[in-house]
Every structure is written in structure tokens, then in C-alpha cells.
Symmetry: C2
Subunit: 360 residues, 2 copies
């Protein structure tokens, strides 16, 4: 279904028009360090070059590109934040190098093709927001044949985890249903209407909300109880939109904790700044959003909780079938089918369990 | 500007598609009692009559109308909630009387005109959501010449209040600015970019968010420090959309507390079910959302906070110029210009203060 631009603004772009939100991203030290180092430790990619910043927001990546020596930087931003980016560019005296353009990357035109495309397009669990589509579009239209992408590569991970969230969310759900039953009694007693026919749809709505919607969480590395598996590897120079419409993988994780609970799965991503084969980076920088005690990011991890939790032991293997596609009614949100089965040390395979989740 | 229907769904209707939200309204005892009593204590308006329920939601008002003896009820609902309303109607065995129609009231057609229009269209501070436009539209198109409106009348009130919210929000704003200044230092020190040019727009954004956006609050009657003034009276049978596009009033409130702080103004509304002149109610029912210790509603009150607060004394008069119009970019939200000046007991008039607020 084609995207209604006005709806997309109401649902998606609106948040980016707030400086408060841009500031949150600008305050993410792990994110900032990675982009900063990727630019300034690879100046040869920028000196005298033309750069396109897709979704410049406050303008930060465009400014760094210019400071690293770019000849010309096109900084494109769909929201009114473009106005602030322009002010920031000017107050840092870079208005001769950076041209801020307000508009969707899909709608604007540039006077030339560029040597570098830089963009911070990653959403929760990498692909939420589907902004990478716009970067691919920009690459196909505006990147020179030997140009480089910043970042150049991306990977998605999944790992079995233990977490109190599973019980917590189950209690929330049960609380909502208790409430509902009290409500039913009152509505019948005081207002003469029996609403019991709505119990099932209400329960489904609440289940979806509490149990099937993936949760933002900042996991501690200890909570990861098995080897992380790579779900997807992306070469930003070659990938097509078609390639990322669906993420499908069958992976295996080895339980690494002695005796523990499997309460769900955690998903995260990393991106690399390696340049291209013809034009490699001098210094490879990586930005990871993996569980970390000290270097958490605003992306955190996405947690898919299981009910009930499952007892697992070191050496057992968790076989996971993962499939992620876009929500029918909003191409920037995702739905996930996740099936898993546990192979015990004896070789015995426990029955497969299938779950559906939503990344909202 | 014409309303983009898809955007309106994304921004507005979407919440009503959740049973959880309908349940919140159905759990508001003050609201429920008022509509229930208005229908069952005025059965003469319903027995053998045709009724239109504009925005039936779960179907509750349509069901009561049928139970009170209506010959036919058209229950129109724009969202998928219509499906649940249909189920509820059926499980209460009223499918021969009630016809649930999924669609906007502006888009659907009925086979006949109706004797009664019932609707629960009231938003925060009465007019937020602008749903009353749809009821007026329905009235002009589908109500018989001698038909009645449920509710029949509505009033908006404003009163001076004292509240800790004023200080609280000022502290939030100051905290956000402190944070910002730390952020500026870091961004300059670590990443070589001076963002000071964004301080003013950031401050304005935060001021709008913390200080100029009206707040939902459940005020205690003690917090009302002066006589409430009526800002607007609406006869639901006669009012036009034009009449409610702008609410403008110059009113006066007498301070009734001995020696206190004026920290802002509280806004609320009431509606009456009085039938029409030709066809009056047998029993007048009123639904008020005024500050109340025991009978609060989910509407609460809208609070407009002042900074700084002002010391006021019993007998002083607060002269208020109030003007509310719709937001340019979203016809369901409002902006408010509120000017006030205090007339001291000596007759001395303090200088007028002008404030702008947003009802989001
Ligand atoms: N198709 C598109 N065209 C232009 N801008 C887009 C876009 N899709 C997303 N954006 C913008 O891209 C930004 C992503 S957030 C990253 C902002 C900035 N580059 C930084 O790193 O801090 C948002 O400001 C969003 O409004
Ligand atoms: N123009 C329109 N056409 C049809 N339904 C509308 C509408 N504008 C608002 N609505 C619906 O009106 C409802 C208002 S909430 C009230 C629900 C129900 N009558 C009750 O009293 O509990 C929402 O469900 C909303 O989706």
C-alpha cells in the first residue's frame, strides 16, 4: 500500500521536529563517539569531497563532515528541524560548505552526485522506522559509482535472555483482566448491560499490549544466557529495499549459564564504518547496541517475552525461527513470528513453541 | 484548511478503537449516571421514537435508548469499535432495534430522520477534539424539526485557582534548562560543536511544553479561590459550527479566599439534558465536571498555570479576557489567549498580564 505522506508526518516525523528529541540522540555518547570517530579518523573520505547527510536533524553529522574537510555537504531534513540545522551551521561558520535543504530525500534534488552518504537512520532493533529505505533511495540516486556509505555495514542479533519483565508483564495483564471482571459486574448491576461478549476481544487487546508487544529494555550483559546469533547482515552499499522488507533466519544459540530461566529473547544491532572495498576506512569504527554495563545506548534492546518462562541448562541448544515483516497499517512498525525449540543435552528436542510479536 | 481524513484517523480516532479506552469512559460513574438517568427518567422521549447515537463507541447509549423503548436506533461509529458495538447489541438481544453503522457520521446515510440525537461528544474543556462539529452536522442533516438533543445544553466555566502545579512545572522547566546547559558544554568540549544558538528555540520549546500547555488535573473544590465565571453557553439545538470556532469572553471573578495565591485558572464544563422547549424533559439531568471531592470525572479540569503566582485577597476582583481558537495544524486542538488584571479592594487596577496557552 502506498504511503500517505501526511499520515507519515503525523505518526513518525512529528517527534523529530522537537529539539528535545534531537538532544536525546545528541546526548547518546556511544552513538556520538562512533560517528565522531568514524569521520575524524577517516578524514581521507571527507577532505575535498562532497557529502550527503540523509536526515540531518540538528545538522551534527553534516557539521562534522565539513569540519573534517568536505568541500560541500548537502544536509537534507524532512522536518522543520531543518531551520535549526541552518542556524547551527551558520553559528559554526560553515554556511559556505553546508547547504541545508528542507524536504524529504525522496522529493528534493541535488546539483551533483556525492562521494559520501552519511546518515543515522537506525531505529529500534535496527529496522524499526524503516528509515533505511530512504537512505537506499538516496544511495541509488545520488551516490557516485565509487562512493562510500557511513555506516557501511549493519547486523542484527538475537539472544536468549532471562528477565523479570516476563513475570512483570504477566501480572500487568492479569491485573487488567481482574479489573475488567469487576467492571463487568458493575456495568451489569448499575447500568443493566451485560458486556461479557467483549471479554474475549478485551483480553486479546490487552494480551497484545502487555505480552506481545516487544519492550524497550536496557539489558545487563548477565541477562544474556546464550550465545547471540546473527539474524541479518547488511552491506549498505549493495542492499535493496526488497532485501530488508523481510528478515528471516533460522539460528541456534547455545545456553551458556549453568541453570537458569529462559524468559525471552533480546534483539539488538551494530553498524560498522569500514568504507568500501575500493575505498576502505583507515580506521574501522563500530557502533554496537549490545547489552552493556557501561556503554548502553538510547536504542537499548528490544525484548520479546515468553510466558511461561522455561528452565534451561548450560549446553542446551535453542533453535529459533525468526521472521520479521512490516505492519500492514504502518510500514514503519514491525511484526515478528518467533518459533523456538530447545534441544536438551541428551539430544532430546522439546516441542516447538510459536509466538507472535509486534514492534510498535 | 480542509481536514485530511487519514491524518485525522492517525491523530484522533485511533485511540477510540481500543476497548481499554472505551472502558475508561464506561467506568466514569458520574458520566454514566448522568446519561443513564437522562434516558431512563425521560422515557417519553424514547418510547416508540427513532434515535441517532453519534459516535456510539461500545454502543452503550444506543443500548440504553433501545432499553428505554426506542422503536429504532442508528448507532454510528467511525472506528472498528463498531464491530464490538455490534457484538454487544446482539448479545443483549437488541439487534432488531439497533442498527450499528460503521463510518463517519459525515459519510453515512440513514433511511429516515430521527426524533432524538444522543451523543457523548464532550472533550477536555468541552470543545477539545471538536467532535461537536460532527453532532451539529448530524443534527442539521438527520434531526426532525421537533427533535431533541441529548444533551441539550452545555456551558464552559473558568475560575481562579491555587495549585502547586505552577511551581512544579516551573521547576521542571528549570531542570530541563539546567540539563541543556550541561549538554552544551559537553557537546562543545567532546565534539567540537557550539550549540548555543539553539538555546533560545530549545527554551521556547520547553516553555511551551511545561508552562504553556494546559494541564489535566483533578482539582479539589478548595483550590478554587474565586467565583467561577461562565465563558460560553450553548444551546445544542441551535448552535452552529461557526459559533464554536472561537470562544471569546470577558468575565469577572470575585476572590473568595481570605489571603491566598492565584496560581492559575481552571476550566471545566457541564451539560444539561432538558429536552427542547416544545418537548421538555420530565426530569432535568445535569452532568458537571466541576472540581469535586467525590464526584470527579475522567475529564478532570484543564489548568492554565501562571508564573509567577500572584498574592490575592478576599474581595479583590479578577478581570479575565479569554479567547480560545483552534490550532492551525490540528483542528481538534486549541490555543488560548488569556489576559487578566486584578482590581484591588482600594479600586486600584493592577497592570494587565497577557498569556498564551495550548490545549494539546
Ligand atoms: N525521508 C527522509 N527525508 C529527510 N529526512 C528524513 C527522512 N526520514 C527521516 N528523516 C529525518 O532523519 C532524522 C533521523 S535522526 C538523526 C538526526 C541526525 N542526523 C543525528 O545523527 O543526530 C530525523 O530528523 C528525521 O526527521
Ligand atoms: N464524526 C464521527 N463519526 C462517527 N463516530 C465518531 C465521529 N467522531 C467521533 N466519533 C466516535 O465517537 C466516540 C466518542 S466517545 C463516546 C462513546 C460512547 N457513545 C459512550 O458514551 O461511551 C468515539 O468512539 C469516536 O470514535
Amino acid at each position: 500500500s502506498p504511503v500517505d505522506k501526511e499520515v507519515d508526518f503525523a505518526n513518525y516525523f512529528c517527534t523529530y521536529a522537537f529539539l528535545f528529541h534531537q538532544k536525546e540522540m545528541l546526548s547518546d555518547r556511544v552513538r556520538m563517539d562512533a560517528y565522531y570517530n568514524s569521520v575524524f579518523q577517516n578524514k581521507h573520505h571527507f577532505v575535498g569531497k562532497t557529502v550527503l547527510d540523509v536526515g540531518t536533524g540538528s545538522g551534527i553529522l553534516a557539521i562534522w563532515s565539513a569540519q573534517a574537510g568536505a568541500r560541500k555537504v548537502y544536509a537534507v531534513e524532512a522536518t522543520k528541524m531543518a531551520v535549526h540545522a541552518g542556524e547551527l551551521v551558520k553559528s559554526n561558520n560553515l554556511q559556505d560548505v553546508i547547504e541545508v535543504i528542507e524536504g524529504s530525500i525522496e522529493d528534493i534534488t541535488l546539483p551533483e552526485k556525492v562521494d559520501v552518504i552519511i546518515s543515522e537512520w537506525m531505529g529500534y532493533f535496527l529496522l524499526r522506522e524503516s528509515m533505511f529505505d530512504s537512505v537506499i533511495y538516496a544511495r541509488d540516486r545520488w551516490l557516485k559509482p565509487n562512493g562510500v556509505m557511513y555506516p557501511s555495514h549493519a547486523r542484527m542479533y538475537l539472544a536468549p535472555i532471562r528477565s523479570g519483565l516476563s513475570d512483570h508483564k504477566m501480572r500487568d495483564y492479569e491485573g487488567a483482566m481482574d479489573d475488567w471482571h469487576g467492571f463487568l459486574k458493575e456495568t451489569e448491576a448499575c447500568y443493566g448491560v451485560n458486556m461479557n461478549v467483549l471479554t474475549k476481544p478485551f483480553s486479546e487487546e490487552q494480551k497484545k499490549y502487555y505480552l506481545q508487544t516487544s519492550l524497550w529494555n536496557s539489558l545487563h550483559p548477565n541477562q544474556v544466557i546464550g550465545t547471540p546469533a546473527i539474524l541479518k547482515e547488511i552491506d549498505c552499499l549493495k542492499v535493496t529495499v526488497e532485501d530488508i522488507l523481510k528478515v528471516e533466519a533460522s539460528v541456534k544459540s547455545l545456553v551458556t549459564k549453568e541453570d537458569t530461566w529462559l524468559s525471552g529473547f533480546g534483539g539488538w544491532f551494530d553498524v560498522q564504518f569500514k568504507g568500501s572495498e575500493e575505498n576502505p576506512a583507515e580506521c574501522n569504527v563500530e557502533l554496537t547496541t549490545a547489552p552493556s554495563q557501561d556503554d548502553g545506548t538510547h536504542w537499548g534492546q528490544q525484548v520479546f517475552v515468553l510466558h511461561p518462562c522455561v528452565r534451561v541448562k548450560e549446553g542446551e541448544e535453542v533453535y529459533v525461527n525468526f521472521s520479521m515483516t512490516r505492519a500492514e497499517d504502518n510500514h514503519r512498525l514491525m511484526k515478528v513470528d518467533l518459533g523456538y525449540s530447545i534441544k536438551q543435552s541428551s539430544g532430546n528436542m522439546l516441542p516447538r513453541v510459536e509466538k507472535k510479536f509486534f514492534i510498535e
